[in-house]
Amino acid sequence: MTRHMLNRRTLLKATVLGSGTLAMPSILTRSGFAAESLTVADVGGAAGDAIRAAFCEPFKKETGVQVINVAHDPDPVTQFKLMVDTKTYLWDACMMIPDYIFRLQEGKNYIAPLDLKDETGDMVPGMLTENWLGFSVFGILMAYNTEKYGANGPKNWADFFNPEKFAGRRGLYRAGWGSLEMALLADGVAPDKLYPIDVDRAFKSLEKIKKDVSVWWTSGAHNTQILQSGEVDMSDTWSARVYGAIQGGAKLTTVWQGLYSVDGWAMPINGPKQSLAREFIRFCMRADRQAAYSNLVANGPTNKKAFDAIAPERARILATDPANFAGLVPLDPRWWSQSNRQMVKKRMDEWLLS
């Protein structure tokens, strides 16, 4: 694609020469940002507000550098690639899970090296890599309606996949990301033996509840809405999402069995403000900042010291709480590569439409 794009670009250049005048006013708009400022892209919504309060504003207070946080698409990989390919560095850092980092390094590398060290030794191992800093741990788990099941709800994924034992409407993530793993857990695969995913076995397991899944949800808000309004009785979900719904009064409870993944910062390769962005990311490693963030959004910190500043009852609802964390295994980004995602997607569509 790269070579092709390059040709395309030179061709575009030729046509664009004539319209150069149109670009003039844009210079005025873009230079509106001060020299000492950064733009970081996050997932938006409540998490975006929390990032602003816990990281961006304190960073400005300490360094004078303004950090503008904007929201990116639920899956920012295409946008990120476009940005780097056209050298239009809109974002100096971007919030991404390891999957995205992995996908942005398949073939051409789009991620800049981070060059940061865990100086205090407080980071959870694996949360700081050569090009990524994780700071927001979330669980991919089960939630069910307590009004429907009371205290005798499903205890694990085997129960979820057993419509005879637990009648009720189910929701599942249509992309297969996470839901295939749940199907395997339900079929008795040991958590540490999930990868490489036995796709045939996973679909065989899914077959058992096909007619009981009334909603194959497609986006985070969709997932929350169907759980909160009682449209489904149980569904796979993410920890911060379901916690938000519970806080809002929804009659839901969680079953901490499943996967976890981590959101974190990465920088686009050859970006113009890397040293400044690096300072901001270093700032996000700090225990006090991570604690402030986890107090606002129900995602776990990656700096072990952060728990000192998090109240015990708050810590208990986070994915990083030992009791919760025991039931979770890391989602493997290497398995969810470009080709496997494509294959799962195709197979899922064929299966759902047959």
Binding site: S26, G44, V70, T78, L90, T218, A240, G249, S354
Partner: protein, 588 residues
């Protein structure tokens, strides 16, 4: 149709010939606009359907659309849904538009404002509102269950997807029909009655044939627009209702498979172009060159249509008579009024439901809300991001409407007035941005704008929105111009007016209804557009739909409803203000 029927090409000889021959040149700026900002960027993306990552030709992705059982099934669903939606929209909108056309201009504007209100609410908010209103725990579902229906099965099926799409598109359908309906000379109807036709016959033999151009315009627009729907089927449908727009987004945006995504885009484009050509063949929308003789639809088709209309008219006449004799107190016109008000009420359901949802004290969209509070309005008004996004959406909408009307109207004028063979090609070309998925246009524009430093600028957004709005505005203005009686211009010219004077004093006032409809549609399309804002805005230059989209990472919160209510309020106040001003300036 009939009015242009009558204006034979010979009459044009009385006008200044240079005016005619030169009219195709009027299309140059508009065509250049679309060549630069649409065709060039889009083609460069679409060619990747056959050019793989390695730069080699491969038709594998393109073939898979037909060979894969699930893909071909999605394609079939997409086109079936589009046809069903078109038929439903036209059938539902026609009586409503007919009823509207019998009202005074001021009444029409007021009713039109009501009909367009749901359009001001973001598609995202509306679809989530349906999830709430039709969910199995909703009052309506309980009502259906108590009536013996399957109240818990209202969502996630074909019917509700059709309902959602039709509900979204009926206002568009009505606005596309109105200019033509208003152009039908009402004295023709009284002439028919004087000559002995019953009202039923007059409708079927005079009004219906004369209004067919508006129906065709609206139908074409609905068909092509509905092909690209993705939010409604993914939120309200089951996997069986998957439409190709969803697949394109998944392939390009989630799987980074530009090749497969473009392959879907190409097949969709080809299918839609075939649809456009068929439509044009039957209804003669483009008015292809070579004098009015050729610009008319196939003679046999037309004659068959007219024959059919008069047959139905004659057949229904005794039925209508019988009805009038049986139900004396309830004339048909009253029935039509009741039907129209019912449709308008249905259109307003989500709008009306969103208002209490915005004043909820809870943190979710719920109906009825658990309690009253202003907290979501406080959140909205206290947030500089929401305020800036709202202001920008209005500003960009206005700029986009201005730019689009210039581009679309000049080209429409050229197509109608020119006898050049190019007119037909220009027509198809100007319809094409409606068919190409917005995602493809957005990514193509990203490459182009990156070269022009237009990424994350307001100008970039205006240009992008204009590309998307151009076909709709073009077809609305075109159908108005097609119905315009050009003999009036000829008369003005004969009487010594300069072409410019004739245009401003005769043509413009007569087509102002179509121009106004074009401006409103352009504004509405810009106001609702998401994909361009997502890619070209990059999160830095945020419009209202983009802000709504960003805000739902974890959940749909009532701030979105509050934002919608504020927009509805602003629009209503602006409209009423304009009405009051026009009332004082020109007492009716």
């Amino acid at each position: 149709m009939a009015s242009s029927d009558l204006s034979s090409p010979n009459l044009s000889a009385t006008g200044k010939p240079s005016f005619r021959l030169g009219s195709i040149w009027l299309a140059v700026p508009g065509v250049a606009f679309l060549l630069i900002f649409f065709l060039w960027p889009t083609v460069h993306i679409l060619v990747s359907a056959v050019w793989g990552d390695d730069g080699r030709f491969s038709s594998k992705a393109l073939f898979s659309v037909f060979t894969s059982s699930s893909y071909s099934r999605v394609m079939a669903t997409t086109f079936t849904v589009a046809v069903q939606v078109t038929v439903l929209c036209v059938l539902i909108s026609y009586p409503l538009a007919y009823w509207l056309s019998r009202h005074s201009a001021r009444r029409q504007r007021l009713l039109m404002m009501l009909i367009l209100l749901p359009f001001w609410t973001s598609a995202l908010v509306k679809n989530f509102a349906w999830l709430v209103l039709l969910g199995r725990n909703s009052n309506f579902a309980q009502f259906v269950t108590s009536m013996g229906g399957a109240g818990d099965r209202l969502l996630f099926n074909r019917t509700v997807v059709l309902f959602g799409i039709v509900h979204t598109l009926v206002p568009l359908c009505v606005i596309a029909m109105m200019p033509t309906f208003n152009q039908v000379n009402k004295s023709l109807l009284s002439a028919a009655t004087t000559l002995g036709a019953s009202p039923t016959q007059a409708f079927w033999r005079i009004f219906l044939p004369l209004s067919m151009r508006g129906v065709a315009t609206a139908g074409l627009m609905i068909f092509v627009t509905s092909l690209g729907f993705f939010i409604t089927p993914s939120l309200l449908g089951s996997p069986r209702e998957t439409m190709v727009g969803q697949l394109i987004i998944e392939q390009i945006n989630e799987l980074q498979n530009l090749q497969q995504g473009s392959a879907f885009g190409v097949v969709l484009l080809v299918g839609a172009i075939i649809g456009v050509i068929l439509f044009d063949r039957i209804f003669g929308l483009s008015g292809v060159a070579g004098g009015s003789g050729n610009s008319q639809p196939d003679d046999r088709v037309r004659r068959f249509g007219l024959w059919l209309c008069s047959r139905i008219g004659n057949m229904l006449d005794p039925v209508a008579r019988g009805y009038r004799d049986t139900f004396r107190g309830l004339p048909g016109s009253r029935l039509l009024g009741a039907y129209s008000l019912l449709v308008i009420a249905l259109l307003l359901v989500p709008v009306v439901a969103i208002i209490p949802m915005a004043f909820t004290s809870g943190s979710f969209l719920a109906f009825p809300p658990p309690g009253f509070s202003l907290r979501w309005f406080e959140t909205y008004f206290a947030s500089p991001i929401w305020m800036a996004a709202t202001a920008r959406s209005f500003g960009i909408g206005l700029a986009c409407a201005a730019l689009t009307i210039v581009v679309a109207a000049t080209v429409a004028f050229a197509v109608v007035r020119s006898r050049s063979r190019l007119a037909g090609a220009i027509f198809i070309f100007f319809m094409s941005p409606m068919i190409v998925p917005h995602l493809v246009i957005s990514i193509g524009l990203f490459y182009l704008f990156a070269q022009m430093s237009l990424i994350a600028t307001d100008i970039g957004l205006v240009l992008g929105h204009s590309v998307i709005a151009t076909p709709v505005v073009f077809i609305v203005v075109l159908s108005t111009l097609r119905g315009h009686d050009w003999r009036l211009d000829d008369a003005a010219l004969t009487l010594g007016a300069t072409p410019r004077r004739a245009f401003f004093r005769v043509t413009l006032p007569l087509i102002s209804g179509g121009i106004a409809a074009g401006l409103i549609t352009a504004f509405l399309i810009s106001f609702e557009e998401l994909t361009i804002a997502l890619f070209i805005g990059g999160g830095l230059v945020t419009t209202l739909p983009k802000q709504l989209w960003s805000d739902i990472f974890l959940q749909i919160n009532p701030t979105l409803a509050a934002a919608s209510v504020v927009v509805l309020g602003v629009v209503t106040v602006l409209f009423l203000l304009m009405e009051v001003i026009s009332y004082w300036r020109k007492p009716a």
